[in-house]
């Protein structure tokens, strides 16, 4: 069946499907029950699956993730919601010291099929701690897998694939896009693999690398560049750890130029990793250094000036100019 859905709807439908398919799947988090989550991603699920499977939790992030560890050990597949990106830090210890390491420590005897959903990124005019991009913290942690969806169709499929994965997955959802654009979902299609990047626009002059909220920014920039006769390729990375470098390297070898676009701070961020890998693998194909457009190395600013902080179309086009000048 095909229907037009938002990202929020795609995630909601994906969660529902996962819960129908496997009764070991549990949802837990603050306000995920009656309210359906502050973004309504779990809307209606407690009504249909009951309070034992959609669990309103105490307001304790370490508690949410730490109890998920125990549930996973008991054979459940917990999907926990961190209400906002900036509130994942109280759970950071449980995520990096426990969730990420228990499979390793136990020599594979104990699996941690936990999904940690984090609405991430800015652009919603929020107060502080509600607009952050903590992906590098988790992508830097062996044992975790980190993915970011960027559109409704991916939201539907990727959440189900993440839940089915036997490894812990940090699942990043661009909150700015939850209720923004609709897309056509055909749920009879075979989805792409969870851990794969994807070329979302073909081009020849330079490659834009984006994920989550910046995919839209990159596509807009590519459109604007096209009116000036420049052809940009856009890749939605989708998976940050492991990184799927195949399509990236193939593209950069063709275009000779790469620009990474993310909302997170540039210093030691995903862009740094991508740049290093591209340089190692495609040194002789490069016409210019890999450039990075991202949030500045400041705390997330007050929302009235967040548009200055977030990468936008103009900054991407400016980077393109710089790249082409080499």
């Amino acid at each position: 069946m095909t229907q037009k859905i938002t990202l929020a709807k795609g995630l909601n439908m994906g969660l529902r499907k996962a819960m129908e398919d496997d009764d070991k799947v549990l949802l837990m988090g603050e306000d995920v029950g009656k309210l359906g989550g502050v973004f309504r991603i779990t809307d209606g699920l407690q009504k249909d699956f009951g309070e034992d499977r959609v669990i309103d939790s105490p307001l304790a992030e370490s508690g949410i993730v730490g109890t998920a560890v125990g549930m996973a050990m008991r054979g459940y597949r917990p999907v926990v919601e961190i209400q906002f990106d900036g509130f994942v830090y109280p759970a950071y210890d449980q995520i990096v010291c426990q969730v990420a390491k228990i499979h390793y420590r136990s020599k594979g005897r104990v699996k941690m099929p936990i999904v940690i959903r984090i609405p991430f990124g800015g652009g919603i005019g929020a107060v502080e701690h509600h607009s952050e991009s903590p992906e590098a913290q988790f992508a830097h942690t062996p044992g975790l897998k980190v993915v970011a969806c960027s559109n409704p169709v991916d939201g539907y499929w990727m959440i189900q694939q993440a839940i089915a994965c036997d490894d812990p997955v940090i699942f990043l959802e661009p909150k700015r896009q939850y209720h923004a654009d609709k897309a056509e979902l055909d749920d009879t299609e075979t989805p792409e693999p969870l851990f794969g990047s994807r070329v979302v626009r073909r081009g020849t002059d330079a490659t834009l690398l984006a994920y989550g909220p910046t995919v839209k920014t990159a596509l807009k920039a590519a459109e604007a560049a096209a009116t000036e006769g420049r052809s940009l390729e856009v890749i939605d990375l989708r998976t940050l750890s492991p990184l799927d470098m195949g399509p990236v390297l193939e593209s950069v070898r063709r275009t000779g130029r790469a620009i990474v676009v993310h909302e997170a701070h540039v210093n030691l961020g995903m862009g740094a990793e991508l740049s290093a890998r591209i340089t190692e693998e495609c040194f002789y194909s490069l016409e210019a250094p890999v450039l990075r457009i991202g949030g500045y190395d400041t705390p997330y600013p007050a929302s009235r000036i967040e548009e200055e902080y977030l990468p936008d179309l103009d900054r991407v086009l400016d980077a393109l100019d710089r790249s082409l000048e080499f």
Binding site: G63, G66, G70, K107, L243
Partner: protein, 391 residues
Amino acid sequence: MNAPPPAGPTDGAFGPDLVDVFGPSQSHGGPDLVQLLTPEGERVHHPEFDLDFSAEQLRGFYRDMVLTRRIDTEATALQRHGELGIWAQLLGQEAAQIGCGRALRKQDFVFPTYREHGVAYCRGVDPLKQLGLFRGVDHGDWDPHEFNFALYTIVIGAQCLHATGYAMGVQRDGDVGTGDPDRDTAVVAHFGDGASSQGDVNEAFIFAASYNAPVVFFCQNNQWAISEPIERQSRIPLYQRALGFGFPGIRVDGNDVLATYAVTQAALQRARDGQGPTFVEAYTYRMGAHTTTDDPTRYRLSDDVESWKLRDPIARVEVYLRRNGLVDDAFLADIAAEAADLGHTLREGCKALPDPVPGAMFEHVYAEETEELRAQRDGFAAYHASFEGSH
């Protein structure tokens, strides 16, 4: 110079219990301490937690504690000989661990910290397995699901949440309150007095209380968190904290294996019956150092240690058994011989524990291995292979 004692309420405004923590009676555990066997080996009775113990059970406790102590002293010696990098000793805490460990049923699940060698022994884990972590050949090498005994947790308190989550899973499986003794399941979280200050422990209390999870929080209050005394963690007796979270707290003489067994059993049964969490504070003392790298003479008085020696958990059972004619010299000699054998086995076994092959570091990072990591592993193997035959 010793730091001044923390300024405490002295006018009694907060009631006698609070003053008690710092007062002289504190070293005896206070008026609420559950005890069934005194340090002198006298059997005493308790209105709520009394049990009848068979001679066989008592001899079993004795044997368990002697063997546990042997595991500990042997491992300590192995560390001194350079065979272990470090060892977390349990000397003095045998009764707390055996009392708790023996109250468990097969289906119960334990989440230990790093010092629960006696509980591990009760769960049937080969003591040699615990040495691996401390020798540095692995991070623990037993199957948690085989023994219903999770791997040791080094980050203090983290496992209390795991236990609570596991207990929530037990609830969802319908394995509480069925009345079937082979099915109803309790979960135990072990932690120390220092860990009780951690957020995770307090969050675990909240979750467990809020969901009425079948979990027993078993705190071995051995008075010290490395060099920090209990007064630095709590201004009230620890067991009284439970009330604030909405479930019962009990302080038991952790050097009394009978009382520890009785109290833990009651708490476990409450959990299995679906009546929710209990906090058990096993009031004990760490006779040795925190670990083999610690020097307790820097921060505590030898007088304290001497006074606790008089409360040795094994000695009092031995006195009781002898006085009541429940053991003879031959029995005691047999156990001593068994302990010597165990020591020998551990000694030889430890030295024979193989180092992991270097490539093992790449194994089990993920359930579903990534291409990236496979490439690193292959690169590592090729790099090593390039040296082969070069010397």
